[in-house]
Each structure stands twice: as C-alpha cells, then as structure tokens.
C-alpha cells in the first residue's frame, strides 16, 4: 500500500492516484510533472476517463486519492456515496462557445443563427454537462432548435464540426483551442449563465491522503490556475 512508503521531507511521498476527467489530461500531465519535481519521493498516477465512469469506479471502491470531475453532478454522486473527504473545490470553469468549421460556412454569428433552417447543429445530450449548458444558454436566448444529433460528449460534437458534418456545435472553449486549425469559436453573450464547474476533492478512502492534499493544493495554487488557464479554462474563485 502506498501509504506505507517512507515520508519525504515534507511528508509528501509515495504514489498519489488521481482520477481525473479526460478533458483535464493535458493540464494535469503538466501539473503532475511539476508535483513530482517538487516532491521527489512522490509519484502521481493518473486515471483519465469520463467523469461518470470514474465516479462509478470510486463508488465501487477503486483505490483513488483524488477525484477531479468535469461536472458537479458526478462529484455529487461520489459525495452522496460518502466517498469525499471534506467539500469539493471548484478548480476551473468552462464556458460554452459555438464551434464552427474554419471559415464559418454556415455564417453563424450567435445562438439565433443556429435555429435558421438549413443550419445543421450538433448539441450534447442533456445528460452530460455540455448538454445542460447548451440547454440553459438556448433557453436564456429564447432559441428553440432541432439539432441533428445529441452527442454523448464534447469530442463527438467537435469532431463533426471539424469534418464539416455540421455547421455549428455548442462546445466548451477549452475544446476548441487544440482544434484551432479546423475550427473557429464564436462567442455569445448567453454563455455566461451556462458556465460549467470542475470540482476536485480528496477521497475518504484515499490510501495516501497527505500527498492527495498536497496535489489538490498544487492544482488550486496560482501555478495550477495558470496551467489551467493556459488550456482555456476560466478562473474560479477559491472555494
């Protein structure tokens, strides 16, 4: 068990296992390297998957120290199972944008354009955070539309924009950034009400709670925020 490993100078040592949403892969990889540099006796192991799958694994007793979810819903599931130690912190927020193929062939300038006939739109299904966000934003804008597809995750919606299969999709800003070669982002005012939170928490059964707390601290630190911001996440107030 990792907890039995000898403690380093600051008590942070051994393996810390982080279950994190797939969309945090790149940012957390950077942070993990920095964490290991700062704590030579510690190793970070990531398990990246969909937040819901991670939540299921944790409730089934997976040996995890930290859970970073892409939506509060899955964090709630875990918390309701009594697996969260303390309160989750929001580490980042993600704002919806309209992704359009390079050059914007559908000439989409705002949410209202999505309802134009002939414009093919991909949304996320309402079960996933980007779907909830899209619903909120559209409701706020008073737009009703019939998408051609309700994607299971942002990647699916984005892929269809990249390949020109749809003229627009409601996705997150962080998603558009790595696809900038094929995709343009159209910001819209209603996005403000549909921001999605990324909560993080140390888990009750964490085998290595000391290191777990240290990792969460790193993510919440200024350095952590900077890395997340570089990936396109919005800042969140502490707590």
């Amino acid at each position: 068990a990792p907890a039995d490993e000898p403690a380093g100078r600051d008590g942070v040592a051994g393996t810390v296992t982080v279950f994190a949403a797939a969309s945090l892969t790149e940012s957390f990889r950077t942070l993990g390297r920095e964490f290991e540099a700062a704590h030579p006796d510690a190793t970070v192991t990531f398990n990246h998957a969909g937040s819901s799958a991670l939540a299921a694994q944790i409730t089934q007793g997976a040996p995890a120290d930290v859970f970073a979810s892409a939506s509060p819903v899955n964090m709630t599931t875990v918390a309701d199972a009594g697996a969260v130690a303390g309160t989750p912190y929001v580490i980042a927020r993600n704002q919806p944008v309209i992704a359009v193929p390079k050059g914007n062939p559908g000439r989409v300038a705002g949410l209202a354009d999505l309802a134009r006939p002939g414009v093919k739109v991909a949304l996320c299904a309402e079960q996933v955070p980007c779907g909830t966000a899209a619903r909120t934003a559209l409701a706020t804008a008073g737009v009703t539309l019939t998408p051609v597809t309700l994607e299971q995750d942002v990647k699916g919606a984005l892929a269809k924009v990249r390949l020109g299969e749809v003229d627009a999709a409601l996705v997150y800003r962080t998603d558009v950034r790595p696809a900038a070669a094929d995709v343009d982002a159209v910001e819209f005012p209603e996005a403000a009400v549909a921001v999605n939170d990324y909560p993080i928490a140390v888990l009750t059964d964490a085998p290595n709670p000391v290191a777990a707390r240290a990792f969460v601290e790193l993510v919440r630190s200024d350095r952590g925020r900077a890395v997340l911001a570089a990936a396109g996440f919005q800042q969140s107030g502490r707590g």
Partner: protein
C-alpha cells in the same frame, strides 16, 4: 486399455458422460460469463423497473436497435458471405492482402472507425460529397447511417467465421455438384451454403450481436438522435452519465430481448445438421 471384465458397467446413455478435463473449464468459463450478469441483477432496482420500461423513448430505441442490427446483418450476409467464399475458395493475386484488410475494422477502435466512415461517406467525404451533389443523399445522422456503421464494424465477424467454416468443409461435394452441371454459383447456393449452414449461422449471430451492441462507430458516424439514430447502447451510455441504475435497467432490457431473440432463432436455425 481396460478389459471389459475389469470394468464395472456404468449407467446407460452415451453422450452424457462429460470428461472432467472438459467439464471443469467449461463450467469455469460459463461462470465467468454469468457471474457479472448476476452482479448486475443484484444491483438492479427491480421496483422501478416497470416505470423505466415504459419510459418514453425506450421502446423506440429498442426497436431501432433490433431493426438496424438486423438490416446490418442482412447487408453483411449479402456482401460478407461472397467475400468469405472468395477468400476460401478462389485463387487470385493479393489474396493475403485482402484477407488482412478484412480484419481492419476488427481492430480499429470503433470511434476511429466512425471517423473513417465520416471521412468517406460524410458531407465532405471522398464519396459522400459525390453522393450528396449527385443524388442528394446524405448518410450521417440517418438510420441508414446507423446500419452502415454497424455493418462496417460487424462484417469482419461474419466474414472470418464463414471463411473458417468454408475451409473446414469438404470441397469434394462441390466437385460432385459440378459434374452434375452446377456452375460455381449454383454449387455455392445449392451445396456449399447448406453444408456450412452452422458456420454461417454462427457468423450471423456474432455479426448481429456485435451490431446490436455497437456504440462508438454509430455515435460518431450517425450521431445520436432519439427515434432516428439513438440505439439502445447509445441510450445506455447517456444514462450512464447521470444514472447508473437507469443504465443497468436499459442494458438488461436490451439483454433480455436480444438473448430471447437469439435463443429463439438459434435452436431453430442451427438445428442439428
């Protein structure tokens, strides 16, 4: 060998003695396949079952799943059985390469397979563009797209199973058929196919089941729209995002229906050759 005189005669009926060396692994295998199902059943919220069953969209998704998987299987049979025959019986240059190519969709992650389908049949795809401008046909986001995606992923199962059956079959019956005036096509339909019927049935079952459970290629190529392209696996995956129990119940519904169909079909279809 035992002399009969030493051997205490045992109970009757042959066919019933199963050697331990076979029975034990078989039982283990069965257990391994069945235990997880029991785990699921233990977790199923039985009291909420009726209302979930009648929830809107469930029956539609179920019907769509069964229909599109069946259509995909028919498509695979129509194209895949001849392909298997070609691989097993015809000699042509590049046969090794063709055989290797057939296995491609097997190992391609389904999502990537869906992407590949989009690259070919999508609005801006190699063929899709032409289909769109010439016939006004678009395949993504349609039920046809679901069938195509499922067929793409499931066809290798059929081809490989049927090719295996063909290689195991005695080709001398085919020779006998040709001496009776049957060309290759007649020989194929009248002699070869009936002879390898169990193999084709097994292949079709695999193909159908794979198509029925197909998720990644379908959602990537055909998207997810209730009533049009949302099959049961898609519904299950979406339910998983928020509601484990709902996902389990949906899976069990899919399971029950498909196992019932398979059990009903196979005993009749495979028969005892």
């Amino acid at each position: 060998m035992t002399v009969p005189a030493d051997a205490p005669p045992r109970r009757r009926r042959p066919g019933q003695r199963v050697p331990v060396a076979l029975a034990v692994p078989a039982a283990l295998g069965l257990l391994f396949l069945v235990l997880p199902l029991i785990g699921l059943l233990a977790r199923t919220p039985w009291d909420s079952l009726p209302q979930r069953l009648t929830a809107p969209g469930v029956l539609t998704a179920l019907r769509l799943s069964v229909q599109s998987a069946t259509l995909a299987t028919l498509l695979c049979l129509a194209l895949g059985v001849p392909l298997a025959w070609l691989l097993a019986r015809a000699q042509f240059p590049g046969r090794r390469i063709v055989r290797a190519l057939v296995t491609v969709p097997l190992v391609l992650p389904p999502v990537v397979g869906g992407l590949a389908l989009l690259l070919v049949f999508g609005r801006r795809g190699l063929l899709g563009q032409w289909l769109d401008t010439t016939f006004g046909v678009t395949l993504p986001f349609t039920t046809t797209g679901v069938v195509l995606a499922e067929a793409f992923v499931a066809m290798p199962f059929l081809v490989i199973a049927v090719e295996g059956a063909l290689r195991g079959a005695d080709s001398r019956y085919e020779e006998a058929a040709t001496t009776l005036g049957a060309g290759r096509w007649t020989t194929f339909t009248q002699v070869t196919l009936p002879l390898i019927a169990p193999g084709v049935a097994a292949g079709a079952v695999l193909c159908w089941a794979r198509a029925l459970g197909e998720f990644g290629a379908t959602i990537t190529f055909a998207g997810n729209y209730p009533g049009r392209t949302q099959t049961m696996p898609l519904a299950v995956y979406l339910a998983l995002e928020t509601d484990l129990e709902a996902a389990i119940v949906l899976s069990l519904i899919l399971l029950t229906v498909s196992v019932a169909i398979l059990a009903g079909l196979r005993d009749r279809w495979i028969g005892h050759p």
